[in-house]
Assembly symmetry: C2
Homo-oligomer: 458 residues x 2
Amino acid sequence: MNATKIFLNEQDMPKQWYNLAADLPKPPLPPLGPDGNPVSPDMLAPVFPMNLIEQEVSTQRWIDIPEKVLELYNLWRPSPLYRAKRLEEYLGTPARIYYKNEGVSPAGSHKPNTAVAQAYYNKEFGIKRLTTETGAGQWGSALSFACALLGLECKVFMVRISFDQKPYRRLMMETWGGKCIPSPSSETNAGRKILEENPDTPGSLGIAISEAVEAAVTDPTGGTRYSLGSVLNHVMLHQTVIGLEAKKQLKLAGESKVDIVIGCAGGGSNFAGLSFPFVADKINGADIEIIPVEPSSCPTMTKAPFSYDFGDTAEMTPLLPMHSLGHKFVPPPIHAGGLRYHGMAPLVSHAIELGLLSPRAIHQLECYEAAMIWARTEGFISAPETSHAIAATIQEAKRAKEEGKEKVIILNWSGHGLMDLTGYEAYMNGKLFDYPLPEEEIKKSIATMAHLPKPSLA
Amino acid sequence: MNATKIFLNEQDMPKQWYNLAADLPKPPLPPLGPDGNPVSPDMLAPVFPMNLIEQEVSTQRWIDIPEKVLELYNLWRPSPLYRAKRLEEYLGTPARIYYKNEGVSPAGSHKPNTAVAQAYYNKEFGIKRLTTETGAGQWGSALSFACALLGLECKVFMVRISFDQKPYRRLMMETWGGKCIPSPSSETNAGRKILEENPDTPGSLGIAISEAVEAAVTDPTGGTRYSLGSVLNHVMLHQTVIGLEAKKQLKLAGESKVDIVIGCAGGGSNFAGLSFPFVADKINGADIEIIPVEPSSCPTMTKAPFSYDFGDTAEMTPLLPMHSLGHKFVPPPIHAGGLRYHGMAPLVSHAIELGLLSPRAIHQLECYEAAMIWARTEGFISAPETSHAIAATIQEAKRAKEEGKEKVIILNWSGHGLMDLTGYEAYMNGKLFDYPLPEEEIKKSIATMAHLPKPSLA
């Protein structure tokens, strides 16, 4: 078969998610509370519904996808697998390049894979309203979409500077019935305190998380919970539908072996979604190179230690065992907003520690150059985050050419960039820059975690 | 089968376009030159390549889709057919509602179906560069995309007010390598003349057409041609791949009969694309209601006569036999920019005259209300043009409920609205209005065609 695009029939859609925690040679480490002791499920109950907390700590290998979630997934899933033939021709590579197109979802990215699942479990648990934070708006729009389809209210605290600069993302949320407010807001203690001190603050993801959590746990009716779009184990779990579909589609395309798996990684969820089913093969002895790609300006995986650290700037979350640049780290203003996070999903970090992954960092100019080539060969305009996966793919395709090897490469095309065209404008006008980070700055930021417990997989 | 989404395998993609001209009970009427005599193919040669002119006048029923066009179509085709189950439930209708999702193309609409074909035929004919005009930017971005993939240069004259107001559409064109310039420009005589008279003009589609045609025919190398995104016969032809796919998919969905076919119509191409294969069935006796939907503020099909009229404001094009409000008609500022055209495709107009279609006009508030319901049930955010098809679908679904009939309805979901969210904002803020047209104004505009020849199908 020599198709450009490989569909999967609805009846072949995976009916279970894959949980990497079941197969890791060393069991995942627990999050810790402020006292340094493991956080118990009960302690998380005011924040998340118990059914999601159970998923968060589960070590069961396969977890059934509820019928209703499958029905909603079917709006855009199974997502097509493409063969990037025009890119291959352009590069003159002997590699065969495949990509999963997650941009076909109504919100335009992979985010709805977990948004729909989280909204479903909250609804099942009797929750009426979800709160969350969003930076550039990808996650806030995905959760608003999911809440619309499941009949939940949704309140999104959007970082003020993005709220002002990206009105289209806000309008997507509102079209789906979500309530989007700039953060810091006067609706929470955390927000009011910051506004008093600094009325003109542009806001930050850390502040927005604090507000969203506060808004959830202080609802006197108890009908509100908080939802997170990446980092946590249950989020990685929900995304594995991507990789499970991809495996079936590669088989349909006649590929019996995959050599390289690539995804961009900010909090880690789209990368984990595609790669974890392949990580399982690698644990079982398969010869696969699995590459999470991050911005050189926010080198969590390539330059930061595996440490316990807070998930947010304000130190409200439990301590998570992860690669972290330090929770006060403020990354340079690169356009890939979704990759500007100081930490990395504990499960991804864990797999890195076990030597299962080969992280790579790339600067944004190379990523935009790759995205331009992609647009003019494969036709689709990529999200700035996704461009990191494309840049690494091009590096690997060139290497295959040099080595004269017919490698099979698969990447996760995690979303379209139609709402992010200002980055392309800056690139085309020569106004885009790389932001090399001084080693000293990285060291200084990492030092802020010196007093925190160190995780050990020994 | 009870699927939400019906795929079609690549090998089942239609290999030929369907030409309605072959089956019309009365043959199509020719365009006329300024002297009132039919325009010969030779006269069009400076504007279009001869292979497309041949398609324009062809009465052959089936026309092979070139291999290369099929290969490019496969980037987003076959497009999925959806069952709008959640909308059906919301409306409590016994109707079964299906929609073709043309928003999955890289440009986000049906426009690439003809853009790719036109770029291909021009390239085959040895043309190096295409010019075109664009209003809101849907067509300009689709042609830029097609030219990028086929290695042609592309120059787009974009109506200045849209150029200023919609930078994202321009950025899409530039990302694909298209050159987008505000019209009127100083690059053409037509543009310079208007700028001299009125340096601050917001521009118009009529002016932009004049500039694009002039830029094509005055290229001294002879390597440039003009491309049009709707109205013409060959454009309708290329779009029929939508309806041909839909027929196969409806069969896969277990539907043996369709009762109602719906599409929005500005120049007519997305409507023709879905409906013409069903019009053929109707000509052969099938009992189908086929509804092109237009804005009440630009009631070309429902209030204007079948007349010969110019395609552009500046009277540079041949006279086309079509429903027209008069080529000087300036429609009110509704958000559905793609439906603000004074005329209608000659083939669609012809089918209306023969009683094969049942045109309908709807005001924009009802359309936005329909689009909001759609976003919160089906999940996708619709283009303002597409919302007209949705509004008519809801009208028909409600009628089926009143009548207690299990009708099968199919509509063309012609594109997403992610670049057009300001219309949604105005709607949600109560700042959107209908624009009822005084009968007198319509009469006055129609009267401007009094001196032009009248087509007759008698």
